[in-house]
């Protein structure tokens, strides 16, 4: 190979390496931003479903609640729902509805994102007036296929 050919090859290879490197980095950064935005939206939709139920449709609502969770959190949450929430809700005729008052991204990468939520929970027990309470929770969302599901919930 002549020197000029080697030089040309070197220039082209260098160019390819540079373009691929910059392309990959830009893609990674953009997909991290996208992941955070997707997880924020998912948290706003999923957390109210996770934490709400109507006493009239308790079984259905708790199944739907559980469907928002993933991983070991889903197992733990199922245990809480069947052992504590369901019997208590049945006995005392409780319905509760959670809504998101504010939500923002705490931290996150492409696979896992933590969201801070301000929740407002309205709870009604049979024969009681409804009570409203506000709380703050950090919710961890993990990528599950094309979607994001709840992998943890930490009251603050």
């Amino acid at each position: 190979m002549t020197r000029s050919r080697m030089l040309a090859l070197g220039v082209l290879l260098g160019g390819v390496v540079l373009a691929v490197f910059a392309g990959v980095q830009a893609h990674l950064a953009a997909s991290t931003a996208e992941a955070r935005a997707e997880a924020l939206d998912a948290a706003k939709t999923r957390v109210p479903i996770l934490l709400s139920y109507d006493n009239e449709t308790l079984g259905e609502d708790l199944d739907r609640a559980l469907d928002q969770a993933t991983g070991s959190f889903a197992d733990d949450y199922e245990q809480i729902l069947t052992e504590v929430v369901e019997p208590t809700a049945k006995r005392r005729g409780i319905s509760t509805e959670a809504s998101v008052s504010a939500a923002g991204v705490v931290s996150g990468d492409r696979e896992q994102v933590v969201i801070l939520l301000f929740l407002t929970q309205t709870t009604t027990a049979k024969g009681d007036r409804s009570s409203v309470s506000g709380s703050r929770v950090e919710v961890t969302l993990r990528r599950a296929g094309d979607d994001w599901k709840i992998a943890g919930l930490q009251p603050l």
């Binding site: 220039v11 082209l12 160019g15 390819v16 980095q25 830009a26 931003a33 923002g104 991204v105 801070l116």
Partner: protein, 168 residues
């Protein structure tokens, strides 16, 4: 033989031209992608800076009490935009007088922050904080939970608080 000798230089320069063209194209792609990468990094850094500014301002505010020094108040005012500063200024003085009269001791700590929006030199951050408030009548400090929404604006590479409200 003669034609080969004559053709050789043109072939080389054609190749050199192609190589140069491809090299320029690759450089252009690299440059464009590097700018996109830089853009994302700037956004991420800006978001972090906005969140840090919001947390510092909130911590200063919920910790105000009778013994808060002029210096602490000045720091608080320094972290606010001109519009919000005058609002704060008026309240901080009144607040300090009242708090000092009732011997209120307040502490506050930020426990979590979330970036709500970030666009064109503006940001919205939510802040969860805990604190205690104690006055001369109470023997024990009362715990407080705060939920705040903070609006910020970028000015001269600094993030300043332009609005602050409690989320009911």
């Amino acid at each position: 033989m003669r034609t080969q000798v004559a053709a050789r230089p043109t072939r080389v320069s054609w190749r050199a031209g192609a190589v140069a063209l491809v090299a320029v194209a690759l450089l252009a792609v690299s440059g464009e992608r590097a700018l996109a990468w830089q853009d994302e990094r700037d956004r991420a850094a800006g978001g972090k800076a906005a969140v840090a500014a919001a947390a510092a301002e909130v911590e200063g505010l919920i910790g105000i009490n009778g013994s808060t020094s002029e210096k602490d108040v000045a720091k608080l005012l320094d972290g606010a935009t001109a519009g919000f500063r005058s609002e704060l200024e008026a309240q901080a003085d009144r607040l300090r007088t009242t708090l000092s009269k009732h011997q209120v001791v307040a502490t506050g700590k930020v426990v979590s922050t979330g970036l709500v929006e970030f666009e064109d030199g503006r940001a919205t951050v939510i802040v969860a904080a805990v604190g205690t408030v104690k006055n001369k009548q109470a023997s024990e400090a009362e715990p407080r939970n705060y939920r705040l929404r903070v609006d910020l604006q970028e000015s001269d590479d600094r993030w300043l608080v332009s609005g602050l409200e409690f989320v009911a």
